[in-house]
């Protein structure tokens, strides 16, 4: 009988450990619900925040893909003396001659306002600029007409105007056909554009045909802004030669920008505002963890008789500890799973409503699960150790 191999040992099978851990939860359903609610809310918040911002980000990137990243905008900039510079009249043609450039267009600023009627005071421009626009502008910036039509070689000579999205809204123009007051005469509204994400300046502009601007409004024919598209691989090379190409005499005045960079930056930054909400989720998780710990402590106090019985049946301290840890893990795990389902539902609801792709980053789901496991073990550790420390005889004697 002194042979250690023959010594009787207590064994608890892993499957039985799970059963034992789940048994008490099955009996006290309301308590389980309340105790795991905090964790469910916390996980749901975190997942929804991350999911919603990732979905929005995915949408921005998808739009960026559609818009293309090969549009460059060239602005005349300012002279060394601080005056607004102008680009040479032939700069459009020069850019068109760069071999990898397949589309180029220009707008030229006109220093005047556009008004609904002649009775509006001249200083109430509502932030709308008036620009001469080349015929190729719309296709170059991939703009679309919301209503009416874009200029043709015929209409661009006439006193007609195409309004950017914001300009139309500010002028109260919804449909083409009416007139606006521009440069001391009536201009017929030819069309209204949809928002142009890569050239937001156009949204705030009233566009006049290049020829009409010159003939009717005294435009000098110098572009202020150039838009060009090249093959995507050549964008950087084109960018390098653009200043010298458009303004050989003063290349330093020219500024070249890539509007898609701003969108990409927005996509990258769209996670930033979520910090606060994530913090809230973390607080909910913490509160949930405290709730689980509290439930477990109460449970240990209430179930001393059960603990004593299990010890009498041969459970070791380790078995008791494992049982309560398992219970705590199941409790927080249930909350975590409910939270994941809830968070995923919120994310896909938001994405569906906004027409975004649903994106649930793997790291957020995995992190949420890991967090619940960590919380479950932390919350269960102290109660489990207390339960295991109870002496069997004291536990059996407890009422």
């Amino acid at each position: 009988m002194t042979d250690p191999a023959a010594f009787p040992v207590s064994r608890l099978r892993p499957s039985d450990l799970l059963r034992v851990g789940a048994a008490n939860l099955r009996v006290r359903r309301l308590r389980v619900l309340l105790a795991s609610l905090g964790i469910a809310i916390g996980i749901a918040t975190v997942l929804a925040v991350v999911g919603v911002s990732s979905s929005g980000q995915a949408d921005l990137l998808r739009r960026l893909d559609e818009l293309g990243t090969n549009l460059l905008t060239v602005k005349a900039g300012q002279t060394l003396l601080g005056k607004d510079a102008k680009l040479p009249a032939e700069s459009v043609a020069m850019v068109g001659r760069i071999s990898s450039v397949y589309a180029v267009a220009a707008t030229g600023d006109l220093t005047m306002g556009v008004y609904r009627t002649d009775r509006i005071p001249a200083d109430q421009t509502r932030g709308i600029s008036v620009r001469a626009a080349g015929l190729t502008l719309l296709t170059t910036v991939q703009g679309e007409v919301a209503a009416g039509r874009w200029f043709t070689a015929a209409t661009e000579r006439h006193p007609t105007v195409v309004l950017g999205d914001l300009a139309a809204a500010r002028l109260g123009v919804r449909a083409p056909g009416g007139t606006v007051w521009l440069g001391g005469r009536r201009f017929t509204v030819l069309g209204v554009l949809k928002p142009v994400p890569l050239a937001p300046g156009i949204d705030r502009a009233a566009l006049v045909g290049w020829t009409a601007a010159r003939d009717l409004l005294g435009f000098d024919g110098h572009p202020t802004t150039l838009y060009e598209r090249s093959t995507p691989e050549e964008v950087e090379a084109v960018r390098a030669v653009l200043p010298r190409t458009v303004n050989p005499e003063h290349p330093e005045e020219v500024t070249v920008s890539r509007p898609s960079d701003a969108l990409a930056a927005r996509a990258a930054a769209s996670g930033a505002f979520t910090g606060l909400l994530l913090g809230l989720g973390a607080v909910a998780l913490l509160v949930g963890g405290v709730g689980v710990a509290n439930t477990m402590v109460v449970s240990v106090l209430e179930r001393r008789g059960e603990i004593g019985l299990r010890r009498a049946l041969g459970a070791t301290r380790g078995h008791i500890r494992l049982q309560f840890l398992t219970e705590s893990l199941l409790l927080s795990g249930l909350g975590g799973l409910a939270g994941l389902v809830l968070g995923a539902a919120v994310t896909s609801g938001y994405a569906l409503a906004g027409g975004f792709p649903t994106v649930l980053p793997f790291w957020a789901v995995g992190g949420g699960l890991a967090a619940t496991l960590v919380i479950g073990s932390l919350a269960g550790l102290y109660p489990a150790v207390r339960a295991a420390r109870l002496s069997p005889t004291v536990a059996l004697g407890a009422t």
Partner: protein, 228 residues
């Protein structure tokens, strides 16, 4: 004579706080005995059972369970002894609420490493043995006190322990239910189970084959009883 399955040598138990519950107890229990431990309240009967059942260690002296010295063993080993050698029945039945009788009994073998199916089979057989074969699906609140205690007895004997300890098993029952439980214990003894019953009741003690009287931490009498 055969070697005793339980052997206490000069066992002393002093609780923290100074209460001396056992003051040098010597006792041997042999296979197949039905032994009653009697004595006034506070005399140390439950403490004695804790010693014999490896639920607690003596302050001094030796407790040998099937040859293993309890005092020298760590918790893990003591638990192993309880899981495989010992069955307990308590005054309060300690059944899990809301759990069917069958599973309450089957859970008695949880820590003995018996697979679930075998546990259930043996539990069904044990319930049959205590006359509750038709009540396997009943939950504790659907059973009378006597029936609940019989479930607890079934739980204790389902894994065929070396010895069954019952601490006032009829203490919470009226005389009819108490007699039921006692009958079951006597049947088990007749089948060869070694049983130690702590009791206040003279009829219970009289049914035993041997009576040990405890007083103030000492065994003051160890006599054959009127029973088998």
């Amino acid at each position: 004579m055969t070697t005793p399955i339980v052997c206490l040598e000069n066992v002393v138990k002093t609780y923290p706080g100074g209460v001396c519950a056992l003051r040098g107890v010597n006792l041997e229990i042999h296979r197949g005995e039905l032994l009653a431990v009697v004595g006034p309240s506070g005399s140390g009967k439950s403490t004695l059972l804790h010693m014999m059942g490896a639920l607690d260690r003596p302050t001094s002296g030796r407790v040998l369970l099937a040859g293993h010295d309890v005092a020298a063993l760590p918790d893990r080993r003591l638990s192993g002894l309880r899981a495989s050698l010992i069955g307990f029945v308590f005054q309060r039945f300690h059944l899990a609420a809301g759990v069917p009788a069958l599973d309450n009994v089957a859970d008695g073998m949880l820590y003995a490493g018996v697979p679930l199916r075998e546990r259930r089979e043996r539990a069904a057989a044990a319930l049959e043995r205590v006359g509750l074969g038709g009540r396997v699906t009943h939950r504790p609140h659907e059973l009378s006190g006597g029936e609940q205690q019989r479930v607890a007895v079934a739980r204790a004997v389902a894994r065929r322990p070396l010895v069954l300890y019952a601490d006032e098993p009829t203490g919470n029952l009226d005389s009819v239910a108490g007699a039921e439980v006692l009958d079951v214990l006597r049947d088990l003894h007749a089948d060869g189970t070694t049983i130690v019953i702590i009791t206040h009741e003279q009829e219970v003690a009289a049914a035993a084959g041997r009576q040990v009287r405890v007083h103030d931490g000492h065994i003051v009498a160890d006599v054959p009883g009127g029973g088998p």
